[in-house]
């Protein structure tokens, strides 16, 4: 038996394959398609205190090897989430992490506080890419001081493990990551989407209703890998890699670079079987390379000349 498990601070996952927030619904959508209990962890779509209807269409654009989205975090709100969505998640044997966001720091705190009351949640992921209304729409993780402050505030109410999800749209992602680490984050995950845009040259209109949106998919993988490398070089808490991961080779690139686990995002849309297939392929890789445990390959990047 090969040990495929990985540790993310206080959490132990049966394997490093997680599904990224906003690309896996509330897991139930996949119940007929894949054996959900084989996953390392499931991360829910972002939940906020109040319900949100989301942005007007057009919300998504297909590009070569990537896509743009401006979904706008539609969700039923935390109360309704607990009533409607949690039941199914609680029935899963796999680790469930709830992704939360707020328009203000208080929004994060309130959401997490409410979730602390209910069972079946293994931890939280804080989505700092949500525009911060107090700071004029800049995201919570574009400024180290704000990131520090919100992390500290949420830490105070959260007994469960806390992962902070970082935006790549900053000069120094590790500066923000360090601020989170110093204020109680158990891990960081990176990257959220990159700001991107596309124009319809016939109508001369932006392709997205919100003009710019989030760029994701295989095309952003090289950028994600550089950000993860920066984070693992500077931080001591675990780093969870996200960004364009679609194949077992992609997963290996990130694990070798030092990620403790990975999240699959956009790939779930077009290749919904990818997550469990990659788990099988990782297992086969371990056998082929005679590894006793998968974690042996984490952070084995050889950077000598």
């Amino acid at each position: 038996m090969i040990d495929m498990s990985v540790k993310i601070g206080p959490l132990r996952l049966q394997n490093p394959i997680m599904t990224a927030s906003g690309t896996f619904g509330y897991a139930e959508e996949f119940k007929d398609i894949i054996p959900l209990n084989q996953l390392g962890a499931v991360i829910t779509k972002t939940v906020t205190v109040e319900p949100r209807p989301g942005n007007p269409p057009r919300r998504i654009v297909e590009l070569n090897n990537g896509m743009l989205n401006s979904i706008g975090l539609p969700n039923v709100g935390v109360e309704q989430f607990i009533i409607e969505k949690l039941y199914f998640l609680q029935s899963l044997k796999t680790t469930v992490i709830v992704n939360v966001a707020g328009k203000t720091g208080d929004g994060f705190v309130e959401c997490v506080r409410r979730l602390e009351d209910v069972d079946g949640i293994a931890g939280y992921e804080l989505n700092y890419s949500c525009p911060n209304v107090k700071e004029g729409g800049l995201s919570f993780s574009s400024n180290a001081a704000t990131a520090a402050q919100v992390t500290r505030a949420v830490r105070r109410v959260a007994k469960r493990p806390l992962i902070v999800k970082l935006t790549p749209n900053v000069t120094s992602i590790s500066e923000i990551g360090l601020a989170c680490q110093e204020n109680g984050a158990d891990a960081v995950s990176a990257i959220n989407t990159l700001v991107g845009m596309a124009v319809n040259v016939k109508t001369r209109r932006p392709k997205l209703a919100t003009i710019t949106g989030g760029y994701s998919g295989p095309a952003i993988k090289p950028i994600a890998l550089a950000k993860v490398y920066e984070l693992v070089s500077k931080l001591t808490i675990p780093v969870i890699a996200i960004g364009g991961i679609a194949t077992v080779e992609d997963v290996l690139e990130f694990l070798i670079t030092g990620a403790s686990a990975v999240q699959l995002g956009t790939v779930n849309f077009y290749d919904p079987g990818a997550s469990v297939r990659i788990i099988d392929e990782l297992h086969a890789y371990c056998i082929q390379h005679q590894l006793g445990s998968l974690s042996e390959i984490i952070a084995t990047l050889n950077i000598s000349r």
Binding site: E50, R58, R59, E62, L63
Partner: protein, 279 residues
């Protein structure tokens, strides 16, 4: 006028299938019928439902492509897809060969609700909007619901063979250039028909086609006080309710809470009066 409760198929499992191509036939200008061996789907597909097909061998085409289930033959264990080559994905699909295996996800979405008490099912199909109605006609015929089909195309070359529809419905064709059927818009035929028939309460429109046609039908339905179910084709990244990209604005939203339907899960079929038709 009460809103028709639409069919949902939440308990019907969505499956990832590997389906072999049985035949691929060009039946009109750049328009193809793809027949797939699909034992499970052929039994339980409902008219209006769709599948998401992965375009093979095109690593840089990211999303699957959604297509209505054109027909399903439970005995032959096949389903048909009717598609028009409009872009990179469909261009690649048309070059596939018999024996190639497709990666397919389905059945997806809700379906048209055909009330047994209808005195007439009136189909309005524009161009490739004809796709869902072959399977639909199987159902109306089974249930003995009288059916009329208004089918508009641009020009003759785009017309799919009518043999598929004629035994089960009264068919009226129009073309923009007049090369087949009557010259003009399919909605002109529809108006003409609605002017002459009584009993709007027990009739229903079933609509699929390009956006300008849908807008026109929406007006007509309001004017004649006739119910209408429409299948909408939004852009879709997933087709099964996880990307939340396929938003259709609600006519009667719950502001700040729910303002959009999801075309892939709560649709693709909607009561026309409940949605705002959007590009």
């Amino acid at each position: 006028m009460a809103v028709i409760p639409l069919n949902t198929h939440d308990h019907q499992p969505i499956r990832l299938c590997r389906s072999e191509i049985v035949s691929i036939t060009e039946i009109a200008w750049e328009t193809f019928v793809l027949r797939l061996k699909e034992p499970a789907l052929s039994q339980n597909a409902h008219p209006g439902q769709f599948v998401e097909i992965r375009v093979p061998r095109c690593a840089d085409i990211l999303w699957r492509r959604p297509f209505s289930i054109h027909d399903a033959d439970g005995e032959a264990e096949t389903i048909d897809i009717l598609f028009h080559a409009v872009g990179r994905g469909t261009e690649a699909l048309k070059h596939l060969q018999v024996g190639d295996v497709l990666d397919l996800l389905g059945p997806l979405g809700n379906s048209f609700h055909i009330d047994d008490h209808l005195t007439e099912a009136i189909i309005v199909a524009g161009g490739l909007g004809i796709a869902p109605f072959k399977l639909f006609l199987r159902k109306t015929r089974q249930r003995n619901v009288p059916t009329t089909l208004f089918y508009g195309v641009g020009k003759k070359e785009q017309l799919c063979r009518l043999d598929d529809f004629q035994p089960s419905a009264q068919v009226r064709v129009s073309s923009v250039d007049g090369s087949v059927g009557s010259r003009g818009m399919v909605t002109d035929l529809l108006i003409e028909h609605l002017r002459t028939v009584p009993d709007m309460e027990r009739k229903c429109l079933f609509v699929c086609g390009p956006t300008p046609m849908l807008r026109k039908v929406q007006e007509i339905a309001a004017q004649f006080q006739i119910k209408a179910q429409v299948s909408v084709e939004t852009i879709m990244a997933c087709g099964f309710g996880v990307c939340v990209g396929c938003a259709v604005p609600m006519r009667f939203p719950d502001p700040g809470k729910k303002e959009y339907f999801l075309a892939c899960k709560e649709g693709p079929v909607f009561n026309m009066e409940e949605i705002i038709i959007h590009d």
